[in-house]
Structures are given as structure tokens and as C-alpha cells.
Amino acid sequence: MLYNIFIDPFVQMAQMPDLLVQTLWEGLVSGVLYALIALGFVLIFKASGVFNFAQGIMVVFSALTLVGFYEKFSAYGFSGHTAAFVALILTAGVMFVLAMLIERVVLRPLVNQPDIILFMATFGITYMLIGFGEMVFGGDPKQMIASELFLPSGSVDVEMLGGMVSFQKIDIAAAVIASVMIAGLALFFQKTRIGRALRAVADSHKAALSVGISLNQIWVIVWFAAGLVALVTGIMWGARSDVSFALEIVALKALPVLVLGGLTSVPGAIVGGLIIGIGEKLGEFYWGPLLGGGIESWFAYAIALLFLLYRPQGLFGDKIIERI
């Protein structure tokens, strides 16, 4: 038993290094994809203290809108790429309108309410998006228009370490896009005037109002940004599986990532994502069989919990201020 837990997995790793590399790569890719979802949460949380339950459905909604627009255009005979990019722009527009609506209808009247109330309100948004989305797009799964958006397909197979390791091109693209986005957002928060204002809003709505920060404007910006992140996430996840309402479940995967990295930290999202992604894959691949497999569903949470016991605010989260 002890051998199976403590020795055998490492023996396996040593014996089949190519598989280890492949596992790490898969972990890295899932990590990046988790991080993308987590990023949407972080954006909104950091900028308004709202834990946005609707992020998952926003991913689905944006992806469906994109595909929906694309289908409409290609029905009118536009060529693949043009239609795809026009659809992309229109979808961004839709996300902007959505952000405005949410700000106007939901957030503005709820300014300065406790976090949990805003959290609840995002649940209302989720319900409405589900109802609206299913009404408009129906429940059938749709194909993501990956190649029309010039996303690569196929894989790069590299022979190494006595085996073949294959890197999916779409995964590489996802990793690159995610890194760029995350770096950009991190800079934005730390270095710009708006970024500072965003953090101020998250700290206290009331005080932010009193110094003249326009919550309305800021919320639109942030929710729009989160909408765009959702769109990118939707494209990437959609390219992996189909675009359907089932994708919503994936959003739950972002929660341990988020917590591990710290709810308020953009770099935390990516680090958390990588730790969870890689930890989860290694755990499932090498240790999972001992428990009969399928431990991935809670393993991520267990990792997150362990880290939290050590650092209650996550790895990079803002310190929880306890002062009397």
C-alpha cells in the first residue's frame, strides 16, 4: 500500500518520462484554461467586490452568441473568415450591451450592499441568461468556429525521452493568448489610474463614491472586460468540447483556482490555475487509480484547501485585514 502511494508513482514517472511530460503539459493546458475562467471572476471581484456567479454562464452565452452570429452570416453567404470576424466584433458588442444592462439594472440599485447580496444578484443574472440564451439559441450543442477564427488545429508531435509527446496547437494558442491577457490585466490593475480606482471600489463602495469615482462607468468597463474574457474562454473551451450549456459546469473548476491564487490577484489566477491543473492531472494520473480513479472532481478542492490552511487569503490575495 505504502509502496503504491509513495514509490510506485515516481517509478512510473522515471520509467516513462514522455508520459510525465505529456501529463505536465496537459496539466499546464488545463491550468491555463482554468485560469481563463478564474480571470473573469478575479476581474469583477477585484474591481467591485462582487463574486460573479454568472461568469460561467457568460462564457456559454458569449460563445453561443458568437456561433449564432456566425451561422446567420454564413447563411447569407459571407465567407468563413469574414463572417467569423464580423461575428466576433458583434459578439463583443453584445457583451458590451450586456455589461451596460447589468450595471444599469442590477448593480446601480445595489450599490454599497453586502457582498453576499451582490453575489445573489449575479445568480439572478445567471437565471436570466440561461432562460434568454436557451430561448434564443436552443439547447443543441454547437461547433466552435475555431478554424474560421484562424485558430490552429492539429498537433505538434515531438519525439523525446523515448516516446512521443504531442502538443495540440490549439492548446499552445490558448496558453499564449491567456498569458498575454493576464499580463496585460495585471499591469492595468497595478499601474493605471483606473486600476487603482477599481481596487478602491472593491474595498469600499461608499468611500469610492465619496471621492468621486464613478462606479457606474467603472462597472461597465469591468463587466465588459469580464465579458471579453468570457468570450475568449468560451472560444477556447468551445474548441475543446462543444459549445453548449453543459460548459457552465466547467466554471466550477475555476473556484479552487481562484481561491488558491487569491480572489483579488490576476497573477494569482494563472499561478493557481497552473498548480491546480498540474496537481490535478498528476494526482489523477499517478495516484487516482489507487482510489479507483475519478478523484479529479474533488482533488482540486483538496489542494486548494491545503494551501488555504497555510495562507487563508490565497497565495497572492490581498491580506485579510484584522484590526481593532
Binding site: D203, K206, A207, S210, V211, S214
Partner: protein
């Protein structure tokens, strides 16, 4: 009431006027019952009154922060620089030059002191250099803040946070500052300093002030005009000097009844507060 008397001494056209406003919290709790007041251009006006009189509520009504606490102005109007402002958003009001320092600090705990001060300049469009210069000015006013500039505001002491809140408001280069209990929790030296700063800004930059303050002594020393509130109404007003000489004010707000200042030890019985109205 001395309504007409006050008209006579008004030095300039009012910068801020509050006309007969009524405020209700939570749709059912009536807190202000018809409050009117005016702050002249370049004036320092004090609102005095006991706990719960409605000073804070009045200030929040002016700066439009009531909305965030489920309060609402149901009657009356508020004008700033001649325009009605009671429907504006708080940030628009700040942009027009009226900013509030809230009671009880409200710093951004997770931002450093310096970042806190910089958020004050959010509405400003006059460039980094001017903002930096003002930052230096604030640090000169409050040297303690300079020492703690990179500490997270949440970890600083109560007085440091109070300074930070005041400094932050000053960073917006306002035409008018609504100060809610600025002296609370500050060392006596710093209280003096704050009021000196108020005077300084008032005389050098022409900033007007509306100050809600419990430290009546201080407030009336620096203010040009004062209002006294009781349970949601203005019960007395007049220029600072006349209030200072008023017997009732002396007795209840300055603590110097007929025979001059008493020791706190000698206050014999719990007095029942005299009410002017109601």
C-alpha cells in the same frame, strides 16, 4: 428664529443652499424634518448638535451618498453653485468641486496610504505633475502620513486614517469640502493643525467648508457661521461670534455654564438635555 438676521451678515452669494429637505431611511424612518442651510462662497460653516441630531445625514444628503444607505431626500432641494444637484451622482458632484470627508475614516484598507491619496485625484484632469505637487503639499500638512506612505491603510492607526481621509479629499482640489467630525480621534495638536489647514485652504484657495463637529469650541473658533441641530431640525443659527456668546450654547455645547469651565469630575448629576423645539 434669527432667519433675517443671518441674511444680513451673509458675506457673499451662497455656494451651497439646502432648502427644506426631508430625509427618510428605509422608506419608513424620517430623520431630517425640513432642514435648510446655506454656505456662502468662501465661508466656513459649522453644523453643531448632539448625537443623532442628523448632522451626518445632512452632509450625506448634500453629497448624494444617502442613496448608498437606502436613504432618500423626499422633499426640498439642494443647490450647489446655483444648480440643482440633488439628482446628480456623487462623482458628478465631486467633479463640480464638492467633496465629503466621511465620518469614521473609510479609507481603502487594502490600498497604501499613498494610493489612497491618489484615488482622491481620480476626477482631476490636470496632469500628473499637479497631482504630485498636491501630494507633497498633503505630506507637508501631515508629516505622519509621509512616514507611513507605503503602509496599507487598513493597518494604520485611527488618527492616521483620519488624516488620510482628509488628505484624500483635499487631493481632489475641491471648491467645497464637507467635513464630518474631522477632529475625531486626533491628538489635540493635530486637531489644531487640521483647523489651521481649513483656515489656510479657505483663505488661500477660497475653499468653502461645511463642518459637522462635536468639538464646538474649535468649530466656533474657526467658523464664520453656525447652525445648531436637534433631532432632525435646525433649532438655531447665527454667526459664530453670536453663537459663542449665546448662553444656551455656552451651557450645552461649550460646557462653560455661568461660572466658567468646570472640571469633568464635578458634574454632579446627569443633566437632561434642554430641547429648543419638539
Amino acid at each position: 428664529m434669527s432667519e433675517h438676521a443671518s441674511k444680513a451678515v451673509e458675506p457673499a452669494r451662497p455656494m451651497l443652499t439646502v432648502n427644506n429637505i426631508e430625509v427618510i431611511y428605509d422608506h419608513v424612518i424620517l430623520v431630517l424634518k425640513g432642514v435648510s442651510l446655506a454656505v456662502p462662497q468662501g465661508g466656513i460653516v459649522a453644523i453643531l448638535g448632539a448625537n443623532g441630531a442628523g448632522k451626518t445625514t445632512t452632509l450625506k444628503a448634500i453629497s448624494n451618498l444617502l442613496h448608498a444607505e437606502r436613504g432618500e431626500v423626499t422633499k426640498g432641494s439642494i443647490e450647489f453653485n446655483g444648480d440643482r444637484v440633488d439628482r446628480l451622482s456623487p462623482n458628478e458632484l465631486v467633479r463640480r468641486g464638492c467633496i465629503q470627508v466621511m465620518e469614521g475614516r473609510h479609507c481603502f484598507g487594502h490600498l497604501s496610504i499613498e494610493e489612497n491619496l491618489l484615488t482622491g485625484a481620480f476626477t482631476r484632469r490636470d496632469g500628473n505633475r499637479a497631482i504630485r505637487a498636491d501630494l507633497e503639499m498633503i505630506y507637508d500638512y501631515f508629516p505622519r502620513l509621509r512616514q507611513r506612505r507605503s503602509s496599507m491603510a487598513g493597518y494604520t492607526s485611527g488618527g492616521e486614517q483620519q488624516m488620510c481621509a482628509i488628505g484624500r479629499a483635499m487631493m481632489s482640489r475641491p471648491k467645497m469640502i464637507l467635513l464630518d467630525e474631522p477632529s475625531m480621534g486626533l491628538a489635540p495638536q493635530v486637531v489644531d493643525e487640521i483647523f489651521e489647514i481649513v483656515k489656510d485652504l479657505n483663505s488661500k484657495q477660497g475653499v468653502s467648508f461645511l463642518v459637522a463637529e462635536q468639538n464646538t469650541n474649535m468649530a466656533l473658533k474657526y467658523a464664520t457661521y453656525g447652525y445648531i441641530m436637534e433631532t432632525g431640525r435646525i433649532v438655531m443659527d447665527g454667526d459664530a461670534a453670536s453663537l459663542r456668546d449665546n448662553e444656551d450654547v455656552k451651557e450645552f455645547y461649550l460646557g462653560i455654564g455661568g461660572e466658567g469651565r468646570k472640571s469633568f469630575r464635578e458634574v454632579k448629576s446627569y443633566k437632561r438635555r434642554k430641547r429648543w423645539l419638539a
